[in-house]
Amino acid sequence: MPLKDGRFLKKIIGHMNKSATRALIPLGIFLALAALLFYGLQLDPRKIPSPLVDKPAPDFTLESLKDPSQTLTKDVLLGKVSLVNVWASWCPSCRQEHGELMRIARRNPSIQVVGFNWKDTRPEALQMLTQFGDPYAVSIYDPNNHSGIDWGVYGAPETFIVDAEGIIRHKHVGPIDAQVWEQEIRPIVEQYQAKKS
């Protein structure tokens, strides 16, 4: 059918004189514009590119989620490629990605999975980790969005890839699933792990 249509069109154009062919230009422009706008519709306006990519991770001084007496700083991110996962117990998408984070942490001991507990309460956060498992090697606790603003966090879940020098290399907005891990996150993680050695 498309072939037939194509031939048909060619035949019509062949019979037309120059000015009639010229009349088709607006149609061409319209189709190009329609294609552009249709492409725009496929983009997710919630995915806002972060200006922090390729910049040093912001400093922070926050309590550990598990031990209030322990203070954590940016130093915990140095020396290893880290996945900094912003999460909260009130966030359904965080629960959705929880299983995948567990798998990533279990299968990739060379990656440091860091929990950035955000705008949450300690008992509820700890309860979720007890109930569904704890994928985090380090858990940072930011109940009042003190450092979340510095990291440009505007929702949970969000995940940052931070290299061994403490530089943010990528930001993923939304839950991580197997496909996001394999196609988006893993290649970048491996690229920076290779660089380190």
């Binding site: 306006p45 200006p51 603003i149 505007y154 929702g155």
Partner: protein
Amino acid sequence: MTARTPKLMPAALALAGALTLGTAHAYTLEEFTFEDPSQTTEFRDLIGELRCLVCQNESLAGSQASVAQDLRNEVYRMMQEGKTRDEVVDFLVARYGDFVLYEPPIKPSTYFLWFGPFIFFALGGFLLMRAIQRKKAEPEQDLSDAERARLQQLLADTNKKD
């Protein structure tokens, strides 16, 4: 009519209640007070021009989202510390990107956005002018003597048939 009045009363009260609730979110801005009233105006103008990233069609001033509240507090704190408007905007852009601004800055990646309409306007004007000029240049095509004679003949034939 008088019998109906008691029935209308609860409705009127409900309406009044709904209207009061409707203004509740504007009231939350009252908590941000400055000693200098001009600073209060500046604060409100500024948060009106910053976009809430969660509910993207709302400004920081209008959004009920929790993150918007945090950012309002942050802007308030910075202004209380005497930071200028530009410093506050730079602080937010460094963290959230140009997206927080309702009005995108003029820079190479936004040239097309800012100047595109003028380019298209000029292009359209140029094409229109050219089309008009071309129409003018074309000579009026008149009938030749032979054609005129034939036209007369045809008209005469038609009249005869009637």
